[in-house]
Amino acid sequence: MVLRAENVSRRFLRQRKGSNVFYAVRGATLALAPGSLTELTGRSGSGKSTLLNLLAGLLEPTEGKVFLDGTDLYALEDGPRSRLRNQTLGVIPQGQTALGALTVLENVLLPGLLYGLPCPRERGEELLDQVGIAPLKNACPTELSGGELRRLAIARALALRPGILLADEPTGDLDDENTRTVLSLLRRSADEGLAVLLVTHEREAAGYADRHYRMDGGVLTED
């Protein structure tokens, strides 16, 4: 499964600054292929998350197109596009994103509830084990540290065995050891055939990646 951005741009209106139109992403072209881990680095505010949202079908590009295999993502209505995201894309958003009303394990199984294609409990437990928070499976998200929540989000993104994984700074709050655990987990996922995009500040990540991209003022370049 290939996720491909073709010359996508995203313009925003901005109140302050000289011109009130500016590009968060400008003419980015990128393909995420199965089995490869693509690293995307760049300064804060350079447009990395915007590009990731464009790829995830969450933010409509103002120019350009995003294809999932042959399908033009934004030619689809919101309903089918959402369903496609649920079933083929694993997205790890920035920040802390667990649902407070659910336990850790329930959070991991949540994607399976959306369209009644449940993710087996064992699969959830196995994923929690892989990210090292299995003992917390019945805990409430408020009892978890930032790093633990981040790992929960990774497990959740993998729950429905997506073909593509989009990770926005998944190692943000993690210590060195856990950073390595997560990076090797992403690496292994790529080796198992996933197309992985890793947005990161981590220098160490470079060693795990097959391809390296930089984002600078909304402009994407391959290193």
Binding site: L58, L59, S82, N86, L89, G95, A101, P111, L114, P118
Partner: protein, 401 residues
């Protein structure tokens, strides 16, 4: 869809105090509309029954009873009244042009009798001349009304042995009247010779109700039917002009004062219900706006995981629907608990006739209130649900980072 079944419940359970407050608020929606409409309907029903129960075009009572409103008290509140005039006035009334039929009645109040915790009105009538009591017999236990026999109102419990004792006079119950919602539901009816016997018995027991009138030649009220082609108002006027010491009232005029009271009470009820609804709907919409705001980031997360915009709306609406349905169920039950047992007391306090619609109608109103309140509760979340579905997931998650 499984998510809508699971997540709203979990969200509600997570904040039990807030959920309870919202449920309570929704309960007021159903409580007010159910209770209010049953009351308004019962009052209307009561008025209708009052109208037909009166059964006479004109009622004539002694002047002093009229001014004290004693007759209305009997009818509306079931407060026993005793007032008398000489039989000669009855004869004079019969002589008035346009009076087709006139049925005398003789009133006596029981002491707190064995049957009832409060004194009941005993009404003596002449079965031959009566046209307002006997048409209301609903159930006959024995034969015709003879001496020593009584007919009881619908609210009196008939004892096993079928007798009630008034002033040491045991009386056989021969029939029971249908429910009217008026004060007459607690009255006891008997023929003239029996009530006069009771009166004498009362005197010998030391109750002296009649000081200046001979009980054998006294009446309390006269029920009058107007002949075809005569105007009841005009005949009433004639009686009042020609028969001194008597005050006649046209039934229509008595009804119109009750109808006026009913209109104003109904108006107040409708206003109260409307106020409760406006207030509850406003508070509920604000609450759901706050809830959706508080959970904006969680909605964005769901979106990232593949929830469509419509699903987000449905999640919030489901939460609102659960709250408003459980609230409505509680409110409707509470209304039933209040309206059924206390309806009588409420009507007594309002001094208006009150007759509950048939059970089927009440149940239908209950079901409609339940539905209406649930829909209203869900609708109060509609705007928030729409807003939630418009939110930009990417933006929200960036903010939360």
């Amino acid at each position: 869809m499984k998510l809508e079944r699971v997540l709203p419940m979990k969200n509600l359970r997570r904040k039990p105090a807030r959920t309870a407050a919202l449920v309570l608020l929704s309960a007021f929606l159903a409580l007010s509309v159910f209770g209010g409409s049953v009351m308004v309907l019962s009052l209307r029903n009561g008025l209708k029954s009052y109208e037909s129960r009166l059964g006479a075009d004109i009622v004539a009572v002694p002047y002093q009873a009229r001014t004290k409103g004693s007759f209305e008290s009997i009818l509306l509140q079931g407060i026993p009244g005793m007032f008398y005039m000489d039989e000669k006035y009855y004869n004079k009334i019969c002589a008035i042009d346009g009076v087709e039929a006139a049925a005398p009645q003789f009133y006596l109040a029981s002491t707190s009798a064995g049957c009832c915790s409060v004194p009941v009105q005993i009404i003596g009538f002449d079965p031959e001349r009566d046209f307002t009591v006997q048409p209301w017999v609903r159930e006959r236990y024995a034969g015709e009304l003879g001496d020593g026999d009584i007919i009881v109102g619908s609210e009196l419990t008939v004892p096993k042995d079928g007798t009630l004792t008034f002033y040491d006079t045991p009386c056989r119950i021969v029939a029971q009247l249908g429910k009217t919602g008026t004060g007459l539901d607690t009255a006891v009816y008997t023929n003239m010779s029996t009530i006069k016997a009771m009166m004498r018995s009362a005197e010998s027991l030391g109750f002296h109700y009649l000081t200046d009138v001979d009980p054998d030649h006294a009446v309390s009220a006269v029920m009058i039917r107007v002949a075809e082609g005569y105007d009841a108002e005009a005949v009433t006027g004639d009686i009042n002009v020609h028969v001194r010491h008597v005050e006649a009232s046209a039934a229509a005029a008595m009804l119109s004062s009750v109808a006026g009271g009913l209109r104003s009470v109904s108006g107040v009820i409708v206003l109260l219900v409307a106020a409760v609804w406006v207030l509850a709907a406003a508070v509920l919409s604000i609450a759901f706006a706050l809830i959706s705001h508080e959970r904006a980031k969680e909605f964005a997360v769901l979106r990232v995981l593949g929830a469509s915009r419509n699903m987000l709306s449905r999640l919030l609406l489901a939460e609102a629907a659960i709250v408003s349905f459980s609230g409505a169920a509680i409110g409707a039950s509470a209304a039933a608990l209040i309206v059924f047992p206390f309806g009588k007391a409420i009507s007594a306090a309002m001094e208006l006739p009150y007759l509950m619609p048939p059970l089927g109608t009440v149940l239908a109103i209950g079901a409609a209130s339940l539905l209406l309140s649930t829909v209203a509760g869900a609708l109060s979340a509609a705007l928030s649900a729409w807003r939630v579905s418009r939110n930009d997931a990417g933006l929200l998650l960036r903010e939360g980072a």
